[in-house]
Symmetry: C2
Subunit: 165 residues, 2 copies
């Protein structure tokens, strides 16, 4: 699709569902690179100021987005459970990639009119479908930013922040 | 406005301009609290792994969002310049608050159809108005997440991540 056609097709809206999905998956691609940048032992154990190692933060992100995207589509919410027992870099990346496909599949089942629907995420958190998705993305950016400090403290160069390919 | 009325008024769109503005300003309120949580000397000088002190990151955020919102509305872009010479917590907070009003004022001048307009931010960065605004927000969340690690490393509790009031 040419840029001109694309532009014509999506005028008069802030952001389309496809753009928001690509925004999210772009961030998830960058987070995946950030996981890869850690030596496994540091991924599982490195900490600053009593904070959680990045491997534990990643399990939080998986525990939010996995049941999260399912809940947003089906309105059936599991209890929040971040105890995923993923104890290696390989298993974390595998779970990350499985969730990539799950998000894409569920996303196609969200009708445009549902983004403003009021929900109670995980049975606890008031919002709309759109505000909840933005929260999931923001929380991921927040923890990945923390992982950048972990990497720098280890003398490791993090991935470029703008590289979401 | 009742929740029902509000819901009816904004069906069939992912996010409205007013919602995106509130999303941005909510993050800016949280970042303001994060600036406030630092003792001044640590705000100006504390660093981990050779990274910039948070006061310098804040000047980056100001240098992006200030000329940024103006450029998005006027399509006139200044050269990017983050050398703002703000050397105290008081001056940083004052500049932060001035920009809050500036963003609100310029925001009202963005017509709905402009969010998908293709632009070259700061004369350099390809995108649309919406993708550029999302980048500004993401970059702020990223650096604020880093500031949370700085605070924890100093034994200081950061503001609650979800408290954007």
């Amino acid at each position: 699709m040419s840029s001109e056609t694309n532009h014509k097709a999506i005028t008069k809206t802030v952001v389309t569902p496809a753009q928001l999905l690509d925004h999210w998956q772009g961030h998830r691609r960058l987070t995946r690179k950030t996981i890869e940048a850690f030596p496994e032992e540091k991924l599982l154990n490195h900490s600053i100021g009593g904070m959680r190692p990045f491997a534990i933060m990643i399990q939080e992100l998986l525990a939010i987005a996995g049941p999260g995207i399912e809940g947003l589509v089906t309105d059936k919410w599991q209890d929040y459970n971040e105890d995923l027992n993923l104890n290696s870099k390989k298993d974390l990346l595998k779970a990350w990639d499985t969730l990539t496909d799950k998000i894409n599949n569920y996303w196609s089942k969200i009708p445009l009119e549902d983004f403003q629907k009021e929900i109670l995420a995980f049975g606890l958190y008031e919002g709309t479908v759109q505000s909840t998705i933005l929260y999931f993305i923001d929380n991921e950016i927040h923890h990945r930013g923390q992982a950048y400090v972990y990497l720098r403290s280890l003398g490791i160069e993090p991935p470029m922040f703008w590289d979401k390919n």
